[in-house]
Symmetry: C2
Subunit: 311 residues, 2 copies
């Protein structure tokens, strides 16, 4: 089947869905629009966690057991950094440093995040288009009972322990969608737009907060289908369910559908939860993605739901 597939994605769960898509359609048909609200500067280096997770996952370099970083990573840099009394709350693997150092250098030389990302994807032979949501800086901040925390301080240093009261995306008001983002969503050849099972509040909302993207999704000719991040009343990984509780929400697919109201046309839900209260088109499958086959199956199910909606 021809036609472009667009997928909005955040971290590990999202990368798994994109890897699944790569199994069921040609890479050239896929455009991934990636959250950059997690991006931050650390030791002067430009770190872009969700872009990197996607690059590692798609190139077969991800450390699947650990859930982040590179397979076969070494840690000599961190040991030396500690001996110099450098900040060590954020772990930087030796191989991982190559992405950060080269990205920082290219950005300082005047390249855009889009261009750097495309360069890395090409170097590793990935055939899809990977687009940061914006080339302008957007920084997710979490207002918690422990005060205001930049995302990585909340997520990595504090391990999501503080209770979240509100989330904001600094810079989103004036950020522009990266080149190709709106075009991909609007493209007449686009046959499906997926929202990966990333955290809706922390990983997908930053993308929707970039002016123009939410409107483009609402007006898109292609059906927009989200894969629910809930599996058996829990999130597979990360703080989604804890966060939903702190925001006063029930951990249900109805709450996910409500959150994406006006943006999505359909929701793919897990068979353990079902679609009770989901007031839009939905499909039910096993959405747990443990194996590569699982990932392909979930991607295929999301595409089939989109196809059904498109009629």
């Amino acid at each position: 089947m021809s036609g472009r597939i667009v997928v909005l994605t955040g971290g590990v769960g999202g990368a798994k869905l994109v890897l699944g898509l790569m199994q069921v359609c040609p890479a050239e048909q896929i455009t991934a629009i990636v959250n950059t609200g997690d991006d931050f500067r650390h030791l002067g280096l430009a770190i872009s966690p969700d872009i990197d997770t996607l690059l590692y996952t798609l190139s077969g370099k991800a450390n699947a057991a650990q859930g982040w970083g590179r397979e076969g990573e070494t840690w000599t840099f961190m040991e030396a950094l500690k001996s110099l009394r450098g900040e060590d709350w954020f772990l930087l693997g030796d191989g991982d440093m190559a992405l950060h150092v080269l990205r920082s250098h290219l950005l300082a030389s005047g390249e855009t995040p889009s261009s750097v990302t495309a360069r890395f994807a090409a170097a590793w032979g990935l055939g899809l288009d990977i687009l940061p949501m914006s080339d302008d800086p957007v920084a997710t901040h979490v207002a918690t009972d422990q005060g205001d925390l930049p995302f990585q301080r909340y997520f990595v240093e504090q391990r999501c322990m503080p209770a979240v009261r509100a989330i904001r995306f600094d810079g989103a008001g004036t950020a522009r969608p990266a080149p190709g983002v709106i075009e991909a969503i609007r493209d007449a050849s686009t046959r499906a737009i997926l929202i990966a099972p990333s955290n809706p509040w922390l990983s997908v909302d930053p993308i929707l907060a970039v002016p123009g993207i939410r409107d483009a999704l609402a007006a898109a000719g292609a059906p927009v289908v989200a894969v629910s991040p809930i599996v058996g009343g829990q999130a597979v990984k990360g703080p989604t369910t804890k966060l939903m509780g702190e925001l006063g929400l029930a951990v249900t697919n109805a709450a996910i559908a409500d959150h994406y109201a006006g943006v999505i046309d359909g929701l793919l839900v897990d068979q353990r939860d079902g679609g009770a209260g989901v007031g839009i088109a939905h499909a039910v499958t096993d959405t747990l993605m443990k194996t590569l086959d699982d990932r392909a199956r979930v991607a295929q199910a999301a595409l089939e739901l989109a196809e059904r909606i498109a009629g």
Copy 2:
């Protein structure tokens, strides 16, 4: 014996002499003034090779067999960098990266090279004062038969193969000695000023090119003694003898003494060469520094020559 020892030093050979000094007098008495003409930016990182060589050598982290870098180094960063098609002519070890990244970050945060160097020396428990020659940028350039080359391109990328016609130190005209440099040279308690057996043209001349340092040495109350880099008509390491030939000089201690005329009061020469034609006070010993004992012996001999000159 009390009183301060000041030593002007460049790369590996100089670091060996400073390590020898650490064996024969308390670290607190030693002030090393280090060449920063080799410093450069690579991939956006601030790299300071002679400072780092001294830090590694004195802290026991140097890879003695290799002659540069760290013992037990790993190379995961370089492998990943190559996979991303980053520049790979200059080798950056994983542990070595900690110095470069932290230095770059601290400089960008407003610290001076002096302050960063002192911080690193303290973190590794080194008791001596290590002073960059200047906190202002000075960049050694080599005019060669292959054109004008920044120092690291000549030294590392081209392996000193191009024939040198002239050497210049960009920025030296307006650079100021780093805090403590002139004070250490002038200090009434200073009992000896040594010039390490580093390359006089490439490693020591940049220090002497910083306005005020040469004059301070000429006017110093303490005797100034150089350790000749020539051993048996050759340099132990690096391009000294090749360079002397290209500059039309005989590879003799007389030429070394001439080069330092007006700066030094004495020259320590190797027993294989002797002091023929050296028109100033000199002493003869085995200056080859293979073992730690050798280093202590050479340091001791240089101090004794200084003592003899001081009378």
